[in-house]
Amino acid sequence: MKDELKDLKFKVNGKKIELKVNPKILLLELLREELKLTGTRTGCEVSACGACTVNLDGKAVRACSILAVQVNGHEVVTIEGVADGEKLHPIQEAMVNHGAIECGFCTSGMVMSARALLLENPRATREDIKKAIQGNMCADSGYVKYVEAIEMAAKVIQGK
């Protein structure tokens, strides 16, 4: 139980963070319990539901399956860091306006998976989108509106 604390330096949502962490804690626990960034949700803890998806150096990863110490020197963006102040990101705006969101528990993960996809490929096709959110489980909205909203956001990002 008496693990030696490790130094951790990383960037979260553009902000430099320096702290000492228990080496066995997960990135998810660090975000939710230490940094109080509770927008990243705890769903299944086995990388199957995608509710805890965050962006690590721009890639979509599951915070439940990464040790906090593994992000040392890297950059993490969580759902709290997606909007530009009050202005929603095009992905967020499309999800709101298209009626994609129901209970909202999967939404943070959906946004983060979509963000990583469109960062890498703003011209993503419907098949690309389905693939990008295949690890994000939703229980109520049926995925259709999420896929369509991400298609809409891609068009906005491309300036169409």
């Binding site: 299944c44 509710a51 999800m95 709101v96 528990f105 229980a139 259709v144 896929v147």
Partner: protein, 780 residues
């Protein structure tokens, strides 16, 4: 549709949901996101037997572990038992004398962190005597089977036997009579957010924040459990990550344990279930064995129907008496059935508890009846769309009522139009003219139709009330006791208030339920929220509006009846150029007398003439307020070499929810209900059980549908404007929760000639069925 839409400023329009901006930015707070200073973490100690007597529990070692602040066991609840009704109170918060299902809770620990709480659980020494157990309801019904509850002979939880019309005569007169047995899978609720609770005691009052769709259900139960007046029970509702009936509607070990541990330690206690706990110990959908016998005339009209349904209720009763009523009693919609008989049983076993789930009860018999109908249609050479259409209940003329043979009251019924619209959107006739096989891939399409009650009215307190408060700055607060668990009712309530008051959506705010301040309400189940809370909110807004117009009339020297509000202007109906701005009127009303508050109150009376559960014994009466209808068509591709079935994007759906207050919300609800709880049952979801143990209790091994498997239905709204719903509304998406499974299973039948009678249609089952069919054809 257009006419109706044009009459409203906000209703009937797809305005964005009020909660969406908070959810999309991660700011929405779910139960697990709350914490307090001095908070402890709780964990439930669970029994490793499905059926065992508890001989002793020694907590001394756990209590001595540094960091442990409190340990409780079942006996500490003083013999408290709860259940849906007095006669079904068969469950204690933690097991006392024996455990009846695998991993039932026996003790609980609160400690300064999760690791210590977990370690302490391991230090609790429980001695058991393992008892013979029973897992199959048919075995459990036999004389001499082990008893789950000693006072329930043959483990019968509930049974009903009803007879309407003359079924035997109907079968004698039928051209074709057929009997088939269908089986529905053991299925989880599928929500991603695990149950979570934070409880504390403050000023002698119990405080509880928990993910519960029916907070007042817990309010009453907690009052009894902890011997408190209801004025000292405060259930506060966070945002909820879906519910679908079950653990996040009703109570579970974590709820009671957190409260008692908080009392014992005098500190806040938080318990968050893991997904493993959810999937092994929480409430599930019933598994049912549905035997259906149906008689048809030569031209395909249903002459009579007999259902014989056995359900696995699991270890405790919960809502099972309601389930069995709905499973059978709702068989008389959406098709006209004049002769109907049922024999049905719900049986206790040592499996995890079964309970209500979206599409409650009806989903089981809808699957069986709608699939049997396709088998019989084929024998008679009638098209599946045509046979449904000709059997469908006609839409009653305005002012008239259609009563089913068991006295369900249908004032509006758009099922025929739903069938027509979905067939048209899908291109049903064209589809069946083209070639459907492509090498080993066989394609086919299937249709299903359903109804579902809205505004379930059961037992005592069934009304719903709302408050609409106009603040001095012109902003509006809506408060009801009804809960939005994700379906969008908070948005509907704001839209109704905005419509009545003539203000914008941005002017209206709705807060979550807090039992210290909002009015009691039964909860989110039986598609009752928009019907009842909608009516209450409408009346509350009208009450507030009346107060405003009275104030305005004095300012404008006219009678209140001469005034109307639109676009935040209070104007004279006969001369719209004479008006006062909204804010001026609000201020006049608030400041006219010292201490004025503009608070409107509204009560829904529709549900107050309740359906007594005593009527379950006869099956006669109307448990709903009105009925929604839906039809759905899906295309599937079956790989005949591997048995893998997938839905293509090609699909259609039409839903009659009376009047869609918000078409986008209705659409997303229907698509989701059809997919997650229905198509998923048809193709994917099933708990694999071994002697009460769940072998696949995680989302890796328990298959749930993914984005790349989703159909993209074309959607049509069918408008029927029901007189019993506010603004004409009825339920949406529980009917579609019943259409997805039979539509997909019928599509497999269309593609391959194989009818899958025990869902889900896994590749292995389909492959074996195809092989059997091939061999049977060879032997002919």
């Amino acid at each position: 549709m257009e006419d109706n839409k044009n009459n409203y400023a906000v209703l009937g329009k797809s305005v964005p949901r009020v909660d969406a901006p908070l959810k999309v930015t991660g700011q929405a707070k779910y139960a697990a996101d709350y914490e307090m200073a001095g908070m402890l973490w709780g964990i439930i100690k669970r029994a490793p037997y499905a059926h065992a007597r508890i001989l002793s529990i020694d907590t001394s070692k756990a209590e001595k572990l540094p960091g442990v602040k409190g340990v409780i066991i079942g006996k500490d609840f003083g013999g408290f038992k709860w259940g849906w009704q007095a006669h079904t109170r068969d469950e204690t918060p933690l097991a006392v004398d024996k455990v009846r299902y695998m991993y039932e809770g026996v003790a609980a620990v609160a400690a300064i962190n999760k690791d210590i709480a977990e370690e302490a659980c391991d230090l609790i020494d429980v001695q058991y005597e393992e008892l013979p157990a029973v897992f199959d309801p048919f075995e459990a019904m036999k004389e001499g089977a082990p008893l789950v509850h000693e006072d329930k002979p043959r483990n019968i939880l509930v049974e009903y036997h009803w007879d309407f019309g003359d079924v035997d005569k109907a079968f004698d007169e039928s051209y074709l009579v057929r009997e088939d047995l269908f089986q529905t899978p053991r299925m989880g609720k599928g929500y991603i957010e695990p149950p979570a609770v934070l409880a504390w005691w403050e000023h002698d009052t119990l405080h509880y924040i928990g993910a519960k769709g029916s907070p007042y259900m817990l309010w009453r139960i907690f009052g009894r459990a902890f011997k408190l007046p209801l004025s000292k029970v405060r259930v506060i509702q966070p945002i909820i990550g879906c519910d679908f009936g079950g653990t996040k509607n009703d109570g579970h070990a974590l709820d009671f344990a957190a409260i008692l541990l908080a009392k014992k330690t005098a500190r806040p206690v938080k318990i968050v279930y893991t997904q493993w706990e959810e999937l092994t110990t929480c409430l599930r959908r019933h598994a049912m064995w549905v035997r259906v016998k149906m008689g048809l005339s030569k031209d395909g009209l249903i002459k009579g129907l007999y259902t014989n349904v056995v359900a696995d209720g699991g270890a405790y009763a919960r809502m099972s008496p309601v389930t069995m009523y709905l499973t059978n009693g709702q068989c008389t919609v959406p098709y006209k059935i004049d002769n109907f008989r049922t024999d049905t049983w719900n049986i206790y076993t040592n499996n995890p508890i079964a309970a209500a789930m979206r599409g409650h009860g009806m989903y089981h018999t809808r699957y069986a009846i709608d699939c049997q109908l396709d088998l019989m249609a084929k024998e008679l050479g009638i098209d599946p769309v045509e046979i449904r259409h000709k059997n469908s209940i006609d839409n009653p003329k305005p002012g008239e009522i259609y009563y089913t043979v068991n006295k369900l009251r249908v004032a509006t019924c758009g099922i025929k139009e739903c069938i027509e619209q979905s067939a048209k959107l899908f291109g049903w006739d064209e589809y069946h003219k083209t070639k459907k096989t492509d090498g080993p891939i066989a394609r086919g399409a299937g249709i299903a139709a359903s109804a579902f009650l809205s505004g379930a009215r059961l037992t005592g307190h069934n009304s719903c009330s709302a408050i609409v408060r106009i603040n001095e700055d012109g902003s509006v607060n809506v408060l009801t006791g009804a809960s939005d668990v994700g379906m969008g009712s908070d948005t509907a309530m704001c839209a109704i208030a905005a419509e009545v008051l003539g203000v914008g959506m941005k002017d209206v705010e709705i807060k979550r339920v807090d039992t210290a301040y909002s009015y009691p309400d039964p909860g989110s189940y039986g598609s009752r929220v928009t019907i009842y809370a909608g009516e209450a909110t409408m009346k509350a807004a009208e009450d507030a509006k009346r107060q405003l117009l009275e104030a305005a009339s004095k300012e404008m020297n006219v009678f209140p009846e001469e005034l109307e509000i639109r676009d935040k202007k209070v104007f004279i109906k006969t001369d719209e150029t004479r008006y006062l701005p909204w804010l001026d009127v609000v201020r006049a009303a608030c400041y006219a007398n010292i201490g004025n508050v503009i608070v409107g109150k509204g009560v829904s009376r529709k549900g107050t003439k309740g359906f007594s559960p005593k009527a379950f014994s006869t099956g006669e009466g109307d448990v709903g307020t009105n009925y929604g209808f839906a039809a759905q068509i899906n295309e599937v591709e079956v790989d005949t070499e591997t048995g893998v079935v997938r839905c293509t994007e090609k699909s259609s759906m039409a839903d009659d929810c009376g009047f869609p207050l918000n078409p986008a919300i209705v659409e997303t609800q229907c698509i989701g209900g059809s997919y997650h709880q229905s198509i998923s049952a048809a193709l994917y979801e099933e708990f694999v059980m071994d002697k009460g143990s769940t072998l696949n209790p995680n989302f890796v091994d328990y298959k749930r549908p993914r984005a790349y498997e989703a159909p993209f239905p074309k959607f049509a709204h069918v408008i029927t404007n029901d007189p019993y719903g506010p603004f004409g509304v009825k339920e949406c998406s529980e009917a579609t929760t019943c259409t997805g499974a039979p539509a997909v299973i019928n599509a497999i039948y269309d593609a391959t000639g194989v009818m899958i009678k025990n869902m889900p249609a896994t590749p292995e089952k389909v492959w074996r069925a195809l092989k059997e069919k091939k061999e049977a054809e060879k032997n002919k």
